[in-house]
């Protein structure tokens, strides 16, 4: 297995190189002047303080593709992903700021999706065609069909507007003052973890309170999908001969379901989980906008709208890395769940 992991990781730089070259080449479909337009920050402005011709020269935007790419790559290898005008900070700093926010949202959302999806899917499958199963089927139809922004706004109106329980944003004002203006150490950029490491349980509670609604809004569609996948996979597995044999040997239904059937039913669920994780780590612009929770989704969309190519390239590399690593973890999980699977 170790050899397999090393082999997969060795391919990683090659894949990222090809990905970056592909994205970079797409960028070059735009003229140098269009690529400079990111220096026009807003709708009130029509120019830069520096003539466009000079900016084109300064940033080498009229050089051949291989020269521009080599220049960019040499900077990246030194850890410099460039400056993001749309984020008002270096690309690396922007990713370091927004990625932890997305990871926090993903972690809480993942708990909801995976724990909830697997548990509820199991329950629905083991109560096939009875009330719990029927409720699950109807509810998941709504969950999949309901747009995130509609559900998110509903949650906000009810739980914040009426009940004043879960406010938008990442932190309350007082907690932001603690995090940004005091001697609070930001180790990871994730407020949940950093607050515990700083011994500030009040900030932890505040951060958690702010995560509740966006993670629910974010998860509802994927929870529904996960639940359905678990249910159908388990239903299929419960029909297998070895399950019938186990029952015939007198094994309790609970043990049959959890120990024998569910483990095998998890294989397609794990595949789905991998794609869900990769998707979540790319951010959720709608949820982030509604709940004023700025993460990778808003960062990437702002960069795309503003033709902020350093940010687009940096985000592409990150997303590519996430997908590759996620797929590797999924492949390794297969061997855990099903020892008959061999890694090649």
């Amino acid at each position: 297995m170790l050899f397999y992991i090393v082999k997969r990781l060795l391919v990683l730089p090659l894949v990222l190189f090809l990905l970056s070259a592909l994205v970079f080449s797409l960028v070059l479909f735009l003229s140098p002047y269009e690529r400079l337009a990111v220096f026009i920050p807003n709708a009130d402005s029509v120019g830069s303080n520096i003539p466009f011709d000079e900016l084109v020269e300064r940033y080498g935007l009229n050089r051949p593709f291989h020269q521009q790419y080599a220049l960019w790559l040499s900077q990246v290898l030194r850890g410099n992903l460039g400056w993001s005008p749309s984020a008002r900070m270096p690309v690396a700093a922007a990713i370091a700021k927004y990625f932890p926010a997305t990871v926090e949202l993903m972690l809480l959302g993942a708990v909801i999706i995976f724990a909830g999806g697997i548990a509820l899917g199991t329950y629905a499958a083991t109560h096939h065609n009875r009330l719990p199963d029927q409720v699950a089927r109807v509810a998941t139809s709504f969950g999949v069909a309901l747009p995130e922004f509609v559900f998110g706004l509903l949650l906000l109106v009810v739980f914040y507007g009426w009940l004043k329980l879960f406010p938008p944003g990442r932190l309350s004002t007082w907690a932001e003052d603690v995090v940004y203006l005091s001697d609070f150490h930001r180790y990871t950029g994730m407020h949940l973890i950093d607050s515990l490491l700083n011994g500030r349980f009040d900030v932890f509670a505040d951060a958690l309170r702010h995560l509740v609604l966006p993670s629910i809004a974010y998860s509802i569609g994927m929870l529904s999908t996960m639940l359905r996948m678990m249910r159908s996979s388990l239903l299929e597995t419960l029909q297998m001969d070895y399950v019938t044999t186990a029952r015939a040997k007198g094994v309790t239904e609970r043990v049959v379901t959890i120990k024998h059937a569910r483990r095998n039913a998890l294989l397609p669920v794990v595949t789905l989980a991998g794609s869900i994780v990769a998707k979540m780590l790319g951010g959720a612009v709608i949820v982030e906008t509604v709940f004023n929770y700025r993460g990778m989704g808003k960062f990437i969309v702002s960069a795309a709208q503003g033709l902020d190519f350093p940010a687009i390239l940096g985000a592409s590399l990150l997303i590519g890395l996430i997908i590759i690593l996620t797929n590797l973890v999924i492949d390794l999980l297969y061997t855990v769940l099903d020892p008959t699977v061999r890694l090649e």
Partner: protein, 589 residues
């Protein structure tokens, strides 16, 4: 299992109890504004958006100022006296060279404790021009102090040594005063220096140099020319003389200002101001109703949500200084992909299509203002008089106006290009910026009006991302450019210069530089140099009339703004930018 239940219960109490506690907290000393507009830089000389200049307005001071809400009167700011000809502080030589002297107020402190000196003032303006400051007031000053759009243009023309000599002579220091030397009289000059700390906020020279800015010498000047945002040492730092000082800036999230107790006009009532980015208006409205923010702007469609809401005061239909126009481009680039085959007919339009006056007038009469303002703004917008904004000095309500009249439109279409337009038709693509509803609807309404007259008239619509849209405008790719004006100095010269002067932006982008030089420049130059208010009014009226005669643009709306705030907010007054706040005037009951 029992212990687990207690842990879960504890977390729930913390979550919900935290919620309950937050509702009872209401910091009287902290004012929180929710805004969609993020700050692009903290350097006042590079601030571009009107929303961002709110920051420098409250952190920096300028030499002059206006009384609250009165933009026609000048009062001393960091200068102790308003220069006039009567008090001898404005001297116009026989050759037109104008010397304006500002005695500098003494005992004024910067936020870092340094004391204001005339050298700070001189450094501020020299630095602004040398580094290529982008604030509109800086651009105006450069044009009128150095005679060029930028210092680097001057360097290109005369060389660095000569350009620096001119820069150095532009402002001199003597006897606790600063004297500006203008090549010719420039009437808006004092108004520009009264922007309340926006673009012309005074910097502390020593502090700037400590941050890595230009040291103020000729030898080091070239290395500091044409700074980009990421290279600007003042990108993330502020140190002014204003009532508030910068506490922190988390880009795209919030800016926190704290009270400056040493402010020369007395400490403000508020202890802290937080300018928080909230990009969804529904979220901002909910936060306002819950008291988590004190102020926000509201779109007209959202007004019913806040009007009558408990604890919320709404001010609607406040005139602002944002004017939008559809500009005819009279010399479209030959490689434009929006003009079809480049010849008049059902396949395209020629590059000089809009150089025909009758054609431009035909388009004017094809635009349905009433439908546009009612549909897009639910009636909450103004039909402009012309290039001088409503509410500005010398704006002429009796200026001849175009109005929606398809009969007249047809009359002019039949005349356009000697009748060829009506006979052959035309086909081109009009472009708006992606996501800009007001631009899109403006073009849709214009398209509808035009196409209703003749089946051979075809206008397709397309969108471009904002950045690409601006690049296309700069490169004259678009038959129309939908761009407006947002003057932040209360003088008719600025919008008229921008719209009609050959050195203004629009003459170049829209292809009427020669026309401007011939017909408009002499009048605009006189408007800028003649102090006689009656003559200025005459000139302004004539220019507004000429704009109508030459039909340079369709002025399709001037915005009004709507704001909502909590009842406990005191001191808000309406300025030219209702969404920009004077935090010094505010308090919370």
């Amino acid at each position: 299992m029992g212990r687990t239940r207690w842990v879960v219960l504890g977390i729930l109490v913390a979550l919900l109890g935290g919620g309950a506690m937050a509702q009872s907290v209401n910091s009287p000393g902290t004012f929180i504004k929710a805004t969609i507009n993020s700050v692009e830089t903290l350097d006042p000389q590079f601030m571009l958006s009107s929303a961002t200049t709110e920051l420098s307005f409250n952190v920096y001071d300028s030499l002059l100022d206006h009384p609250q809400g009165d933009l026609e009167t000048l009062i001393p700011g960091l200068a102790s006296v308003v220069p006039t000809a009567d008090n001898g502080l404005i001297v116009v030589a026989e050759n037109g060279t104008t010397y304006i002297t500002f005695p500098i107020r003494t005992g004024v402190k910067f936020h870092n404790g340094a004391v204001l000196t005339p050298e700070d003032v001189a450094y501020t303006f020299k630095r602004a021009l040398l580094v290529g400051g982008q604030a509109s007031s800086i651009n105006m000053l450069c044009q009128n102090l150095l005679g060029k759009a930028s210092f680097s243009d001057l360097v290109d023309e005369v060389g660095y040594d000569a350009a620096y000599a001119q820069l150095d002579a532009m402002v001199t220091v003597a006897d606790n005063s600063v004297t500006f030397k203008l090549p010719k009289p420039f009437v808006p000059f004092l108004g520009i220096l009264a922007d309340g700390g926006s673009g012309t906020g005074i910097l502390n020279k020593a502090w700037c140099i400590e941050q890595g800015c230009w040291p103020g010498t000729k030898e080091t000047g070239q290395a500091h020319m044409n700074k980009t945002m990421e290279d600007d040492p003042l990108f993330g730092a502020m140190n002014g003389t204003g009532p508030f000082m910068l506490a922190s800036w988390e880009p795209m999230e919030r800016v926190v200002l704290e009270r400056f107790d040493g402010y020369w006009q007395g400490a403000p009532a508020l202890e802290r101001v937080i300018r928080r980015i909230v990009e969804d208006t529904q979220t901002a409205i909910l936060m306002l109703k819950n008291g988590d923010v004190d102020f926000t702007t509201v779109d007209v469609a959202d007004l019913p949500q806040v009007q009558g809401a408990e604890g919320v005061t709404v001010l609607d239909n406040l005139p602002s200084t944002w004017l939008m126009k559809i500009n005819f481009v009279m010399d479209i680039a030959a490689n434009s992909s929006f003009i079809g085959n480049g010849t008049l007919g059902d396949g395209g339009i020629p590059t000089d299509f809009f150089s025909d006056l009758d054609l431009r007038k035909a388009f004017q009469y094809s635009f349905d203002w009433d439908t546009y303002i009612n549909e897009v703004f639910l009636g909450a917008a103004l039909k402009p008089y012309g290039p001088v904004l409503i509410g500005f000095p010398t704006a002429n309500p009796d200026n001849p106006q175009y109005y929606f009249d398809l009969t007249k439109a047809e009359e002019y279409f039949r005349k356009a290009w000697g009748g060829e337009v009506w006979e052959k038709g035309f086909h081109f693509t009009a472009v708006y910026s992606t996501g800009s509803t007001h631009r899109q609807r403006a073009l849709e309404i214009l398209k509808h009006g035009v196409e209703s007259l003749n089946p051979k008239f075809r206008i397709d619509l397309a969108s471009l991302p904002w950045a690409a849209h601006v690049a296309a405008i700069q490169n004259k790719q678009l038959p129309f450019s939908l761009f407006g004006m947002l003057p932040d100095v209360f003088d008719p010269y600025l919008p008229l210069f921008e719209h009609m002067h050959s050195a203004g932006g629009y003459a170049n982008w829209s292809g009427y530089v020669e026309l401007a030089k011939r017909e408009f420049d002499p009048l605009i130059d006189e408007l800028g140099s003649n102090y006689d208010p009656d003559r200025r009014r005459e000139l302004s009226y004539e220019l507004q009339r000429l704009d109508y005669e030459y039909s340079l643009s369709i002025f399709h709306f001037q915005a009004v703004e709507h704001v909502a705030m909590r009842d406990w907010v005191d001191g808000y007054y309406v300025g030219p930018f209702p969404f920009n706040l004077d935090f010094y005037a505010l308090s919370k009951r």
